[in-house]
Subunit: 398 residues, 4 copies
């Protein structure tokens, strides 16, 4: 056997690196711990979609072969972070210690993130992008990786106001060379990732690669990108309940939701401009399937919930002869435990897509996202079928 192994005997994705923006956060840490635990046989593959029987034979890189690195603006060591997560019930107690070497290896590949006000020695965003590209190139070279996928896990940003420079690549690069910052951080990372020859996945609702100029760049360089906003809890449930009402010809008249969450994400979403990005993405799924529906979505920061999230949804609908009825659900999930396996799934699928020559947006990965790039399909079962068919095509690719 060569230096790379895949889940099955067919074509393989080769050696794959996963570069995480926000590499010291809960989701990233959980993903790194989990990949190591699965490799060591310490944990089952629960929650990993890419390990379902439907996806055997697609040539995905093995979970245990993924190599991790990333950027972050905080400095807390990964093993410390993992210990804290274990204390909060996100990781099984004792597991961080058992995968200590894997954590240390990933920790050694984490570089300082792009600071929000640019540092004096990198006055232009072009300069900042160059530094990110250099980090990615070094990572690929050190580990002799066949491809690297960059996954954005950093805090949600407000949507940037439209700018002319976003429309075309040439104008964007002119602007990047100037002294004024033009791209929000997520898009700057997307730009640098593509320029470094990496696929890009946005797990947040930030702008990321979803600017026309960056789409143009991805297509020119024959690189794939995917997003946005991982679908981990309340919205996941919406994506199966909304089609249920539609297929039964029941008329949903209002859908109200309140999300309580602690942790860093919760604190960040207490900022109304940021929350607007998120709630827009959360309601979109309804309009697509049900048409216009009344009701607000709240996101509240409740610190004592830690890494846990509680969502209450109240759905009012009319049945035969207009009789009004009600459904409610409460979702109590651990966000990191729900998101981390999806990050691994996305890295595996995107790496294989890149190897198989897929370029531009990957709408078939819409199954994983609240706001799928390149698709307005929100019905989970239809998305799953599309993913299955697309992945089968990857298996047939060289």
């Amino acid at each position: 056997m060569g230096e790379s192994s895949s889940q099955d005997g067919g074509a393989t994705a080769g050696r794959t690196g996963v570069w995480l923006i926000g590499a010291r956060g809960s989701v990233a840490t959980t993903a790194v711990v989990g990949a190591a635990a699965i490799r060591a046989g310490l944990a089952p593959a629960t929650g990993l979609v890419s390990e379902l029987p439907e996806f055997h034979g697609c040539g995905l890189p093995a979970v245990g072969d993924l190599v991790f690195g990333g950027h972050d603006i905080v400095e807390c060591a990964l093993d410390k972070r993992a210990e804290t997560l274990a204390e909060h019930g996100v990781l099984p107690p004792g597991l961080p210690a058992l995968v200590g070497p894997a954590l240390a290896a990933a920790d050694a590949e984490i570089r300082p993130g792009v600071p929000a006000p640019a540092p004096p020695d990198q006055p232009s965003q072009a300069g900042q992008a160059d530094r990110v590209r250099a980090d990615l190139s070094g990572f690929r070279a050190r580990h002799r990786l066949d491809q690297v996928v960059v996954v954005n896990l950093s805090a949600t940003e407000p949507q940037p106001p439209p700018r002319p420079a976003y429309a075309r690549l040439a104008e964007l690069e002119r602007a990047l060379a100037g002294p004024e910052p033009v791209l929000p951080p997520s898009s700057l990372y997307a730009y640098a990732a593509l320029r470094a020859g990496c696929g890009f996945v946005d797990f947040t609702p930030s702008a990321g690669a979803r600017l026309p100029a960056l789409d143009q760049l991805a297509r020119e360089l024959r690189l794939p990108y995917a997003g946005s906003d991982g679908k981990t809890g309340e919205t996941l449930v919406k994506s199966v309940l909304a089609p249920m009402f539609a297929d039964r010809a029941l008329a949903v008249t209002s859908w109200s939701g309140t999300n309580l969450l602690g942790g860093g994400d919760g604190a960040n979403l207490a900022d109304p401009a940021v929350a607007a990005s998120k709630t827009a993405s959360k309601q979109q799924i309804l309009a697509g399937t049900l048409g216009p529906v009344a009701g607000a979505v709240h996101i509240d920061f409740v610190p004592d919930l830690g890494d846990w999230k509680t969502a209450w949804d109240h759905i009012r609908f009319r049945g035969f002869l207009g009789v009004a009825m009600t459904m409610q659900f409460v979702w109590q999930g651990c966000d990191s435990a729900l998101a981390a396996p999806l990050v691994l799934d996305l890295a595996r699928f995107t790496a294989r897509a890149q190897q198989a020559g897929r370029a531009g947006p990957l709408p078939a990965l819409g199954f994983f996202f609240k706001d799928p790039v390149g698709s307005d399909e929100h019905r989970l079962s239809v998305q799953f079928d599309a993913l299955r068919r697309w992945a089968a095509g990857l298996g047939a690719a060289a």
Copy 2:
């Protein structure tokens, strides 16, 4: 225009009769009121699956053209029943009065049901079946119907113990001629319906047509049948949530449910033998999709809920690295308002199937049932696709 009109211009199902066992119950009354209201333009088609755009062009009989009759063992007049339903919020206030003539017409076609201890003048079940056949033949003749579909809406029965006579038609008919009752009422109706040349639908979990001897009869006479146990509330939700967990590789470890219901159905289900039929059918859906899952299902009779039903489900599942999470839902539905449009849907689809020469079980109607005959598929979206494809085939039939 001829004497029958359909929803579209193509092949049509002809004049269709709907014969309801339990014709004076809440569901039947709501169905009759609703069909009349839709015909008169007094109500939209909310809740009617067969009116979705997906099913235009299938040649279904128009809702407004359905002719109703049935059996019942109670005597309350339909208009009185409808008034009571309106007082309880199941029907819009004032609507029963507006469709009075339609209620009177249906009322005139309701015959006394088969009494549970056989009457002295019909000592054998064969005699009872003859009487039912005569009722059905008279109905068809009076209204010059092209086909009649019999729908069982009567109270759930305990499962009958196995008997040798159930295995083959010849033996069954020998036994029916004897003095001992051999079939439970639902199956006696199914037998009589088929012998009268009618399709048969079981909306309850009772045995109905699901005995080998009756299946043999249906195939020999080229008649369709469908069942069992209409999927109206808690189980409907299960049928989309279970695949969601499966497709996300989340491991459901327990699924507990409590159903509170008033009304006649609730009182009947307070009998443990009867409830066993129901709860078995309610949990089946999980095992099919998720494998073995712990947890009990309770059905409690709570008289003050009237025609309304509340279900609470508590689902415990494990995500990445074994982290345990919880989802709960509460469904507050009006059973008659949920069931009645499905009865109309089933009558329309079965009538069209009969006209198009479909015989034996109709697994494509599994979308409507908790325990679909001829299928072990329980995922709602897959069932909807199957229904859509099958219905398209009907549209293409003569």
Copy 3:
């Protein structure tokens, strides 16, 4: 027996008028229908606290003897309003017709409310107050009433900014005579009610009588007043759960709530300035009993809920050794059916208090309010005891 009868043989409150600000609203209409239905023996006294055995012998005016009138700025006739409420399930179908004469009598005593921009012929608020006083005096004279209680049921107002004129009566009356409006409508009604010799109850969180100058007026004229903000649903539950946690030494760390409501109140509360009045009043109860607790309260307007209200509360608390636990509740109530009997209770208690010479704020009525005037006690059971003892004192009064 004389022209007034009370619930018992002792001292009586005499003939009592109830003057409702917002007399054509849902709560007022329900109160008028209910009082008539109870008098006619058409309905039990469910929901009427003042009819509990604890309050026999207090000399309250009989429910059936209350005489109704009021102000409103809309014109819909009471019988039409009652019919609409019956269609929406707030009143039993058929009941409005049975109490038609009582509705007509109340309707004849409704006068146009004080318009928000003052009319040209009453340029000063003093002039407006005079008109209200004249309406009240006429009502009292026509029905030979011993006392009249004015109850504010109109839409919640934003809190007025502080003004020097609010501090003392003399300054307030000087300002009222000027051309600039100085009081919000609720306080103008309270001023006019007191000047007309009536007790005043504020069932809303508006300012009402809670300005120092109006408190001074009430004390000088020996008149009682009570408020604020009827405690009908979510907050009622809070007022028993918060003491439960406190008495068990359980540490509540967050208490989050979302209220969904349709109807006029919901539409009004969609205005953030108005909602601020309401949510402040709703959270106060927690701080009083539990100290500072994290968590937000949302009030959402969901039109399809009509007169119904759904509240979801999520409470996070710590037990022994800091273990975090969760309680949630869902309250699905009909606001008018919850509020209307409290309006009758408050009118009866306040009338009796006035007769017994109680002046100024009535903290013993805190049992009925979210934000009780003259008290910072929020524990429901303590409030009930206080009410019981105070009412017993009324019974002993002349």
Copy 4:
């Protein structure tokens, strides 16, 4: 300072032992760990009612001075048990190690429990009782304890059928000397405890000291006893909600509940005869406050919940003019974390009562129980007041 310290400077309870039946169970282990943690300043007194300001000055023994021992029929060492509880989130991770010596000390005082079929060398229950008495006397002597309180935490038993021997002490002791077992284990422990001069508390719904013959014994020996069935979760909430409905004159028509629990208690309650003891105790509280109410209570064993318990209650009530409304709550609690501090509270109050000469049942401790001995008061706030007043009396005692 002498050899015993109390929470305050007044009269003190002296050195107090707490003897736990079921000493190796979750609740007992949590109580021992917690008392040690509080003594060491490692944890606050959250959940300990007896530490509320209301109970300062009552002369209770200090939590940190309690000395633990007990009986159990299993052999798992306390430190192992505590580690398991920490893994399941019942105890903070790391805490068991910090209180190792206290666990070891308690462990050394645990004796084998009375085996269900009597051993050959102790053919009579009198002989078994003697052995228990000897264990208790030895414990008291070794630690020079002023008093010992025995608390039953063992698995719930079915209710014993009535026997003549239960009526009077003389007959009971005659029967105990015979070869046939006459008392269920909980009552045998109660008998032995009283004979050894110890107060007795039953935290379970088992018979315990609640037989006339044992009541007679307690009164003759001037010893106190308390029970039954600690009120930790669903029933605690009922005890504040039921009075809320009653005080608002709202008519509760049904109250349905489902309890899901894992752990040893859950497995035990899967036995219907045992569950009957429990559900009877759980519904009693409603009848006492609300009169007859429809609705069933289910207790389901759901292993994956571990030490956690989820209760869903659905309450249907009528308001003004009969309008039906609904309240639901979900309680997600850790049973051991809720019960353990109450065990410490009960031991402290009972020890102090014994010292102050209180004999027979202690109805003032009804605040802690679902089925309070010597009282039919179930309203939590009234119970709290009674406890407060009674405890103040203890403070005044010598």
